[in-house]
Symmetry: C3
Subunit: 364 residues, 3 copies
Amino acid sequence: MIQLLCFLDTVVRTQFRLAAMNQHNDYTTLRLAHENGVARVTIDNAPVNVLDVALMTDLLRVLTALRDDHSVRVIAFESANPDFFIAHVDMSLVDQPDAFDLLAADIPDGVNVFQGLGEVLRRQPQVTIVKLAGLARGGGAEFVTAADMAFGAVGRAGLGQVEALMGIVPGGGGTQYLADRVGRNRALEVVLGAGLFDAATAERYGWLNRALPAEHLDAFVDGLARDIAALPDGVVEAAKHAIAPADLSEGYQREHDAWRGQFVRPATGGRAADPRRAGARCSDPRRRARPRGPVAQSAQVTETSVGWAWRSSALLDCVVSTWFLMVTDVEIPSTESVDEPGKRRRRHLPAASAPSSAPRGNTP
Amino acid sequence: MIQLLCFLDTVVRTQFRLAAMNQHNDYTTLRLAHENGVARVTIDNAPVNVLDVALMTDLLRVLTALRDDHSVRVIAFESANPDFFIAHVDMSLVDQPDAFDLLAADIPDGVNVFQGLGEVLRRQPQVTIVKLAGLARGGGAEFVTAADMAFGAVGRAGLGQVEALMGIVPGGGGTQYLADRVGRNRALEVVLGAGLFDAATAERYGWLNRALPAEHLDAFVDGLARDIAALPDGVVEAAKHAIAPADLSEGYQREHDAWRGQFVRPATGGRAADPRRAGARCSDPRRRARPRGPVAQSAQVTETSVGWAWRSSALLDCVVSTWFLMVTDVEIPSTESVDEPGKRRRRHLPAASAPSSAPRGNTP
Amino acid sequence: MIQLLCFLDTVVRTQFRLAAMNQHNDYTTLRLAHENGVARVTIDNAPVNVLDVALMTDLLRVLTALRDDHSVRVIAFESANPDFFIAHVDMSLVDQPDAFDLLAADIPDGVNVFQGLGEVLRRQPQVTIVKLAGLARGGGAEFVTAADMAFGAVGRAGLGQVEALMGIVPGGGGTQYLADRVGRNRALEVVLGAGLFDAATAERYGWLNRALPAEHLDAFVDGLARDIAALPDGVVEAAKHAIAPADLSEGYQREHDAWRGQFVRPATGGRAADPRRAGARCSDPRRRARPRGPVAQSAQVTETSVGWAWRSSALLDCVVSTWFLMVTDVEIPSTESVDEPGKRRRRHLPAASAPSSAPRGNTP
């Protein structure tokens, strides 16, 4: 806990430095609006809200700026892109090394910068609510899970911890948030299955507070945020004090060790040393986690090419993965008809398990 | 834990004093029946089973009296009122200060009298089961959650922690029971959303063991109670020993601090000092938590006027809230068509999130 | 933890001794197959996969043998019998005292041999997945719950902790696994209600990861196992390190005390001293836990006679229960029309609680 509190101080100090660097306080990857005690944060980091240095910086800045704003009781997060809340992490350090340097400065042992973002969110004095209309994967899914509440749109929202496909485990708190929220058995399935969970399944697993019909998501979340903001003075603080977040220090350390361990495995000569090998694996389009069934059909997801590479960062004293996503207008087919011998086959995660529901396709 | 055990002793001693005061041992707000190892406690505190001093006293008395009755293995709680299990707390100290004085005597630091009732219930050697046919709100919902098991009737049962609407958080253990049972994210939604949860949603959240068709609730719970009571000697004790309640001492303290803090906030000059202000807020009928959709339609809830006031109690060494409920024959409309500008609008909590279910109205 | 680690060492040593005893390493109650990193363990202990000494020995042996096999990343358990995964525990010590002697050797205080099997499974370095096509009861259900993940077939799979009907509580970790996974309220219902839970209900309670249409279970679990086994090096280890099993030492001790206490109750003169009395109770066919509704109809369970007896075992330094199951071709009727006065009546556990589902019969 001491480390985490130190980290929060560090974040505040870092934000001052970032603010000093900038000539103005505008956010480049999100929009902020206030109304009646609700701060609405609309993530807008085109094309698919990759969680890059710019977005991480802006999220930390807006959380820090709002922390002491007593006129704000609720922070509601949504996306300008109806298909993606946060597509995934993209640590393109090459482009903005200085900004990342500032973010990573003085981070205590055992809490990496990704865990730090989640912890800042968990410790926010306001109530934080995610309106999940589209997809959140990798670090994006961790952000959703770190928020106080999250509501998803049936048929459109999707959550996935897809890190395993790239040879790592979630390293931004996700393993700990999931184990706490959905139980160890389902957390292992989420992390190792690396599939995309639609809103209904995520609700059943307890990952989301609730899955709502897509056409009602806005009204429900907006109404909830407004109602909470209209409560008498002190109720939000009292509730967040009484229902405090668990101390995850030990779990963060274990997760970080597991996560970093994947970058520097002596047995393999270090995965970072051969990015092409891992990259080649991921270049198979069937290896990518993506929506299936109703999600795919409704969201018309349009990824066509995913590549990634490992990059070393002395700033983090560890290596972080980066991968890049190109968006085109090619629709992903909702079924896969080809399975090459010896290749990994992707199973279809059923959308629901009610006996009365239509059969869900599995590996053909 | 030491404090809690001391409290249990205190309760026993208090009960002796109460018994000495009374000329007979009859309960005024509940009925007790024994049969084949099952004690059936029927709450009957007309008109709507408000959890007042009389009912709290009777519940503590009956739990204490049964504690050492080895012929009883299961205690099943139900209500004489099909629409209300326990409507909410009503600490009408004005009417029975002496009785409340006895209840509150010698309560250790950090455990208030409401938490004490929940803790007595959690530590009861018998299996405690709630048959929830109607509504339980505020302290009534806390009682339900503190029991070992609870089953609710689809379309009729409802649970709500509505304290936030009155400027406080649940103070009788509810925040801790909920965080443990439904997870932090949903506990925050329950407490801060202050909505009423129907049985199906409460089951999905894990708040109830199970939601059952209303016509089967009696047979299911009665059968379960009978079966457990018919188990071989020692099984109930063994199961309750192996699956022990968690020690909530720290959480009780945190909750109590948060709860009491709402009564003595210097920033507002103390809410207790201006009961009319708070009362005026609650006089808006749209502000009250109450059943919606199927619950409202089936239960034909007939509240029309809710008022409340804050009262100071030196007996508790803190201030407790009191509010009063009048029941008339006017039915609450199931929808709200008017939203005055600037007024808080109530969202409709969807009854279920299954994709196939009918659309659930939200704020129009 | 020290005790548990010592126990693991003991298991390894015991296995060497068992291996030395045997002229070959074949398993008598299961089949083992390897393919692409997945070890498939097919339990085949006819007629109904009773968890007897032979099966316990084979399970410990195969887990021990696979522990250091780095070519295996996933262990998938399934049954050769479509109706039973593991019917229940059957410690027929009479037949194989030596084997059981070896199993029980050097078990530390507070961890009995049944808990030991669960703990070995929980600490397995590979990912363990149960494909539950039929029934698992008693120690069989504990095995399922101890695995990392479990998926069940709608309409066919069933889980039940039926020990209470025989006068004991689950003693192989089940109370602790359940409390952790489904919460205290539902764990008490499972243990004391002693009913059989179908896959859909078990999923809703969080007991199973997921209930799947029976015709998709194979493809889903096989696909998941294959996908996990195909992950890059180190991911499985990292995930299992980050999402570590909780230390249950204290809970194991509490469970063991509760469990063993049922065998040596001075108040009853010791149940072990009068096996016929307890056996007579269980000879009532209505007392037996068995599938109902869709499970019974689809699985065509064919038990007709259950007897059991208590046996004392100095090897375990405690008494263990044994009971025997005969399988005939007589189908269990799906409803019970007779209730003799004074006899325990069995309630029907509803298969699902969705309001739209057909009414579920209770005891008529």
